[in-house]
Symmetry: C2
Subunit: 328 residues, 2 copies
DNA sequence: TTGTAGGCGTTATCAT
DNA sequence: ATGATAACGCCTACAA
C-alpha cells in the first residue's frame, strides 16, 4: 500500500506538498498540484486513516449505534454526515447487548461522537458516561437523559390519531401499548388519554392492554379486548405490526374492519400496506430524523455545545383503509 | 483522554511496561503489573485505536457491507468475530450506492477485510479490485466472482420446493422470479426447471413471470398468471413478500389458497407468518451464514489463503398453510 | 525484569 | 510556494 512518501517521490515534491494538495488545496502551484494528482492516481494512493486520525486533533468519524435497523434513518445520517466530510461506522447491537461498543470506541478515540438510533435501554450508567462525550439520541430517549434528542412529538401524534378516531363517531376506543417503560410508549399513551379527556370521554382501563412489539402480541391483545365486557369499536395500536395482529384476530372472528371496528397503527411500517385493509397509521420522518441527528451531533462535536436540546420533527397522519368505510 | 505516558507516570513505570501489561501480560513483575492495572483503572485508560493500528501490522477491524439489513446474519458475524478478537464496523449502503466505501476503507487501512452481505451489484470493476483484498460474499455472489462465498444451495432448495409442489398433485406450476440478473435468482429458476424436467413436466414459459422484489410486484405477477390461458394451480415465488402479494391478489379475486391454488415463497421472512394462510417457504440459516462468513474471512486474513471457496449451508423447507389443505 | 528510543504515516509548524 | 522536521500514541527491538 502506497504511502505519502512514495507519492512525494514519484511527483518530485515533498510530503508536505502532497498533504497540502490533498487537504487544503491552496498555496501550491498548479504545476506541482497536477504532478501530485497524477502520482496519487498512478499509485492508487489513499491516505492512511489511522495515521491521519492520530495526527489530527479533530476526529471525523461518527458511530451509529443501532438496535433495530432503520434504513431510512441511516440514509439520512449518511447524507448529512458525508456532506460535512465525516465518515460513519455502524455498531449493530440488536437487543442482545444494550451497552454496545460505544464507550470503547469513544475512549479509544476511534470515533468523535455517537448517534443512538432508537435505543431503548439507556440505563443510568450509560447516561452518566455519555455526559462526557458528544452524542445524540435519534427516535427515542429517556426523560432523565440529558442528551440532545431528535424525534417526533409522540404525545401529539397519538393525540391526533385518537382525536381522528373519535371523529369517526366511535365511542369505545381501546389502546394497545407496550409493557416496557419506554418514553415513546408512555408519551403515546398520554396523548391517547388526553384526547379522550378533551372529548369528555371516560378512561376505561379495561380498554388499555399492553404487550410486546409483535404481530402475535397484537393477536393476544385483540383477544383480550374482545373477551372483555366493554368491547371497543376502535383500537389504536402503538405499532403497525401489532395492529396487523389485531386485524388478523378480528378477521378470524368474522369481525369486519373497518365496518364493525376500526383499527389504527403507528410508524407507517411496510406491513401497513401489505395487510387488508391497509392500516391507518402515523408516519415518522425517519430520513429527516437521521439527517437532523447527524447535523446536531456534528455541531456538538464542533462547537462543544453540550446543552441537550429536544428537536421535534413533524409526523403525518396516514389515513388508509382500516378506519374508513368504503363505498363500493 | 489519558495516554500511555500518563499511565506510566502514575504507575511509576515506563511506557514499555504499561504496554507489556496490556498486551503480552508476561515478563513483568506482579507488583508492577498491579500498579499499572490500578493506574489504568484510575485514568479510565483505553489505548488509542489509531495509534495502535498505525504501529501494528495486523489490522483487527472487519468491514461488513450491507445492502439490505439482515440482523440475523449480523448477529452471526458479530459472534464469530468477537470470539477471534476482531471488531466489525458496518457500512450500510442500501441500494443507492453499489460501490460502498469498501475500497476506501480497505485502501486507507481502516479495515483488514470485508464481508459483503447479500450484495447484488458486484460489477467487474469491484471484482477486479477485490482480488487484492481479503473478502467474502455472504448470501449472494456472481459466478465470475472469485471471492469465497457462503450461501445455501439455491438451485437445490428451489428443486426441493418444486418437487414438493408437484407431489401435492399439482400440474401447472408457475414460477415468479426476478427480472434482474442475480445468481440466486437464476439458480432458483434452474432448480424449478430441473424439478419439472425430472418429473417429465413440460416447461411453459407462460408460467414463468418476472418482477421486482416487492409485495406490489407479487400482485402484478398473479394478475398476469391468472389472465393467461394456461392458469396455474401452484405458484412458487422467489421471495416471501412477492408470495404475499400473489396471495393477496388471489384472495381479492375469490380464489382460495390453498384449496384452489397453492402458493410458496422463499426466505422464511416474517411476513410469511403474518399473512393468512401462512406461507410455505424455504428458511435460510442466516445466523450460521454470517458466522461462517466471518470465520472464512478471518482465516483468509490470517493465512493469506486466497483460494476462493464455495461454502454451502443447509436450508430448510418450512411447510405452512399456503400449500396444505386444512381439515377443519 | 525493565527502560530507552526509533518508527508507523500523517499533518502542522517553521524556516527558506 | 515549498521543504525539512516535530509530534500524534503506540509497540517493540535493543540495551541494561
Amino acid at each position: 500500500m502506497a504511502n505519502i512518501n512514495e507519492v512525494a517521490k514519484l511527483a518530485g515534491v515533498s510530503v508536505a506538498t502532497v498533504s497540502r494538495v490533498l487537504n487544503n488545496n491552496y498555496m501550491v502551484s498548479d504545476e506541482k498540484k497536477q504532478k501530485v494528482l497524477d502520482a496519487v492516481k498512478e499509485l492508487d494512493y489513499q491516505p492512511n486513516t489511522y495515521a491521519k486520525n492520530l495526527r489530527q486533533s479533530e476526529n471525523k468519524m461518527i458511530l451509529v449505534v443501532c438496535t433495530i435497523m432503520m434504513e431510512e434513518a441511516l440514509d439520512g445520517i449518511k447524507d448529512a454526515v458525508q456532506q460535512a466530510g465525516y465518515d460513519i461506522i455502524i455498531d449493530y447491537i440488536g437487543f442482545r447487548d444494550p451497552k454496545s461498543n460505544a464507550l470503547k470506541f469513544l475512549q479509544s478515540g476511534l470515533v468523535g461522537g455517537v448517534i443512538f438510533l432508537n435505543l431503548l435501554h439507556f440505563d443510568d450508567e450509560l447516561a452518566r458516561v455519555m455526559k462526557e462525550y458528544p452524542n445524540v439520541m435519534c427516535g427515542e430517549f429517556l426523560t432523565k437523559n440529558p442528551s440532545t434528542s431528535v424525534s417526533i412529538d409522540d404525545e401529539k401524534a397519538a393525540y391526533e390519531m385518537t382525536d381522528y378516531l373519535i371523529k369517526q363517531n366511535k365511542k369505545n376506543i381501546a389502546f394497545v401499548g407496550l409493557s416496557g417503560e419506554f418514553k415513546f410508549a408512555t408519551d403515546r399513551e398520554r396523548g391517547y388519554k388526553r384526547a379522550l379527556f378533551d372529548h369528555e370521554y371516560s378512561i376505561d382501563n379495561k380498554l388499555i392492554v399492553k404487550g410486546e412489539y409483535s404481530f402475535e402480541s397484537g393477536i393476544d391483545a385483540a383477544r383480550k379486548l374482545m373477551d372483555s365486557e366493554n368491547k371497543p369499536d376502535a383500537i389504536f395500536c402503538i405499532q403497525d405490526k401489532i395492529a396487523a395482529g389485531v386485524i388478523e384476530y378480528l378477521k378470524e372472528n368474522n369481525i369486519n374492519v373497518p365496518k364493525d371496528i376500526i383499527v389504527a397503527g403507528f410508524d407507517n411500517h411496510e406491513i401497513s400496506e401489505m395487510i387488508r385493509p391497509k392500516i391507518t397509521t402515523v408516519a415518522q420522518p425517519f430520513y429527516e430524523m437521521g439527517k437532523e441527528s447527524a447535523r446536531a451531533l456534528i455541531s456538538i462535536i464542533k462547537d462543544e455545545d453540550h446543552t441537550g436540546k429536544r428537536i421535534y420533527l413533524n409526523h403525518e397522519l396516514c389515513v388508509k383503509e382500516s378506519t374508513e368505510i368504503k363505498n363500493d
